[in-house]
Structure formats: structure tokens, C-alpha cells
Symmetry: C2
Subunit: 328 residues, 2 copies
Amino acid sequence: MTDARNVCVLGVGLIGGSLMRALGPDRAFGWNRSAPTGEAATAAGFDVSTDLAHTLGRAAREDALVVVGVPLPALDATLDAVAEHAPGVALTDVISVKGPVLEAVRRRGLAARFVGGHPMAGTAHSGWDATDPGLFRGATWLVAADDDADPDTWQRVAAMAGDCGSRLVSATSAEHDAAVARISHVGHVLAEALALAGARGGDLALALAAGSFRDGTRVAGTAPDLVRAICEPNREALLGVLDECLADLTAARESLAADGTLGPLIDDGHRARRTYEDVQAGRGGAGGDDDDDNAVTDDAITIRPGAPGWLDVLRAAGSQGRAVRLAD
Amino acid sequence: MTDARNVCVLGVGLIGGSLMRALGPDRAFGWNRSAPTGEAATAAGFDVSTDLAHTLGRAAREDALVVVGVPLPALDATLDAVAEHAPGVALTDVISVKGPVLEAVRRRGLAARFVGGHPMAGTAHSGWDATDPGLFRGATWLVAADDDADPDTWQRVAAMAGDCGSRLVSATSAEHDAAVARISHVGHVLAEALALAGARGGDLALALAAGSFRDGTRVAGTAPDLVRAICEPNREALLGVLDECLADLTAARESLAADGTLGPLIDDGHRARRTYEDVQAGRGGAGGDDDDDNAVTDDAITIRPGAPGWLDVLRAAGSQGRAVRLAD
């Protein structure tokens, strides 16, 4: 089911701008701090202003779903404006860490109609020129299942993500942050270390580099400020995973020095990659219990936001990596 | 210039088999230890035997260039057979580490006509079914510039690599091994650690994984025995690079814990990735000093194997990441 009320996007860079383009100008309007990006969006047919109070006033009047798409360092100022100009709106975000956003929302008394979100999609590029209306198609969109989540807002966020072609997965903000420390943030740090190791070998090493180095360092091409804004707010979870990796790498190093073998890491890592491939192959394959014809054909759980125990159902599905979908 | 004498490939798995297919059945024949692979190659029109003495006898009679394509653990047995049945042949290899191969060749008195090689190409798959005659097209093929290298063999190896569509880069075996520890071997180890960190997050983490995890863990899909055979023989160089990475990652971890920032690694890694992109963009671009119409259009150095100082010219070009090509 679709809930096609208006969407107000605050910050129309790569993610917010792609969302706006996926929804189209009849449904999405927005705001951007920098005028050139706003002008580019306007030239593309969208109503994008640089006047945040004005944009939020319209969102409040139309009961639009407000999507915070600014980078985390700009979150506080953006939420201050929401609290001042549109304190009652339905609110979500597309920021890559969920715990700090939830805290910032709660501090301002905006939690009653807030449900966090995170589309697992992106590129190493940024800004309006990098936007793509198909960016979220086939991607996973995390819609948070935190305590006291508002069912109506949850439904609107999930419907919007579904309209963008995304697969819905749900978990608490803390569960999300622990997971992305593992599958995104620590990967950024390792990619930077690999790029640096390669470049220290000078032009010969870089000339010999082939596909494995290209792929392994790809995310080191992301702008450093953006990498920091993505990773550093998830400090506690990232520290834990970095410590695990340091222990694994140190053990492999010691084994190589002592015995000439890299030890169990090679088998363990290979098995882990296979498990990942299996989980990803489970998406969109056959094997669902039902025979509906949704685009999402994996074994998705049907959810009725607000039904008794709905948050527990969401969390249980998420812990199994299973998608959810809205009941018709 | 091309030196199209016959080539005898020992071991027709991914690399050896792809080489055979790139050269064609009129020019390449070979041997493989396992019968099914030999039969698959034979069915594809190639003369591939499981009788190593017989194959080496033919190579000696025809003065073929013998290419050792077996995995490193099978090197000693293969070189023993060469020393017994064809001690005078021109010899090269396509193994991913060069120092240990050179030592093994020298121990058997086979160095006079040996020039090591390493095509920087591969996939996570292996065996004849994974072979591809276009595997080396556009890839970099390291042709070693070790002391006392035989100019005639160097020329034959370089011509063969060029016939496969590869770009030639030269360096000593030790320089090669130091470089690939940086741009290949340590990347394997980091990819295994990343895959393991992700899988420890369970199904939720793996369901949320997107492109950065897929790319960052791709080489963890390589068979563990092959990863060990590639990385472990390069122990000394790999230990040094692992120590650098551990120091960089530990510093980032300490900075994050103390100050909430990942520190200089993010900027340094990004700059390193940009340098890599620049080096790779230099390939095939304009900017050469001459206006020949070779497929390799970067600023390649022309080399005449055996001319005075030719090994110094090769090493100097390699240290700058510059390609070389044979004089007409």
C-alpha cells in the first residue's frame, strides 16, 4: 500500500536529491542550504527553496513527511528549525547513523512523530549532479523499530521507501548502528589503510595494482569530510569492531611470522564471505511462502504498523535479515 | 615485434589456460597434472598431455618457451622435471611471487635462460572453465629485470605478453614482491578480516550490506588454499606491510577513542587513492613523447634487450611505474 502524501526533503544532496527525484515534483518539495544546489533542483522542475522557515511552514500546513537529508554535522541546526517552525510534523531522516539522530530528536521533543531511516545506497560522489532517481531501486532501506515508534509515521516512511523500489528491513537504532559499524564503517577505515599501504609503494606498486586493489580501496575515494561524518558519530560500535579486526590481523601477523601461515583468518574470512553471498542470494529468489507478485519476492514478513506486538515482529524479522512489507 | 616461436604451458588452470587460449593451439601446447583439465583443454583443440616428461621433451626439441603455470606448492616438483628433461629451455613463470621462484630456479641451475613473469590479472574463480583468452588484455604483465637476465628469453617473454594484449612493466623480483605485498597480498588479508567482521554481525548486518562491503570483501571469495599459496610465500614483505597497516589502524582507533576523530588516516588514505587513480589514468592516455600507434599509448620506454645498460633502463622505468615496449 502506498501513502502518497507530500514529502518535504531537507538537504537535496546525493541521498536527499535522489529521493526527491525518485518521488517526482508532484509529491516532493524541499530546502537546501546552498543556493547553487537549490537552483539546480529548481531547474530540474522541483520546488526547492533556501528559506528553511518557509519550507517548514508549507510542510506543517500540508502535513508532509519531513525527511532530514543533511549531513550529521548540520543535524542540530536543522532540527532546531523543525522544532521552531513545524514541531508537529511527521519526521524521518536518511542519515547513516541512527542512535545520535534519535537522541537529537528526543532532546528537542520531536520524537512523538519521528521514525528514523537509512537507505543502504550511495556512491563515492556527492551533490545534486550525482543524484539518481534509481539509486534506491533494489537497495535495502532500514526503517527503525525503536520503542514507542509512531505507527502512522512508520507506515508513511515504509511506503515512501517502497515507492522508491527499496526492500524494507527493520531494527532498533542501536541494532542498526552496531550492524553498519561492521558492514560499512570499518570497511571505510580498512580501505583507507589499504590505499595508504599501496601508495607507500610508489609508482611501481600503483602501476601493478589490478582489480583487487581498485575494489578494495574504492570507498577511500569518498570525500574525507563525508567519511568522518559517516563513521565518527558511531564511535562506540566502531571501536568495538576495530578492536576485533586488529585482533584478527595481529593474530594472522603473528602466525605468519612464527609459522609461515596466516592461520585461521583465511578460512574464517572465506566462510564469512560465502555466508554473505548466501544471505544476499536469498533476496529476490524463490522460496517465499506465498505467491504474491510484489517486486520484493524474498521471504518477507507482512506487517501492520500499530497492531499488537508489531515492533517485536519487526525486530525479530530484522535479526534474521528478513525483509518486511506493509499489509495491503 | 613478435617472437612467435612455440610456447609450452605447464599447468593450464586459470592463468596458464587463459595464456594458452590467448596464444591459440597453433602456438601453444602444454601439460596438466590432473586429467579432467587436460581433457577439457584437449576438447578445446589444444595439445595438452598429462605426461610431463613427454611434454618437456617436445619443448626441448622445438626450443619452446616453457611457462610454469602451476601453483607455488607444485613448483619444486615441476622444476625438478624441467631440470631432468629439458634443462636448456627458455623458461618463465606466471606465479604471483617472484623471489621464491627465482631461488628455486637457481638452486636447480636453470637460471641461465630464466626470466620471471607475473600477469596482474585473475578472478576469484579457478580451473579451465574459468579461463578467458582476453584475461590479459589491458592488464599489466611484470617481466623481471634481475641481474644476468638472458636478453633473448626476456625478449620472448615480453613478446608473448604483448601478444596477449598486456602492458609490460619491469622490476627486479624483490621489487615486485615488495610491491605486490602492498597492492595485492595485504588486501587479501584485510578483505578476510572485513568479511569476518561483517558475518559476526549476523543476518541483520549481512542483509544491510551494500556495495562497499561487496567490493571490499570480493577477494575473500577466492579459495583459501589459493590465497595462502599467493600470500604466504611473500612472508617478509607482507609482514612489513601488515605492520604498517596495524600501526595506521591502531592510531586511528586510539584517536577515535580519545578525541572522537579517526585522525590523519582518512585524509592520507583519500590522497593515496587519488594518487592511484592518477597513475592508472596515465595508462592509455595522451601525453606520450612519440606518436606511434601502438595499443599501449602511455609514455612507454622502448627497450632493446641486451643493449648496454638495458636492465638499468628497465628498473628505472619500473620505479616510475612506466611501461616498456620492445624496439621494432
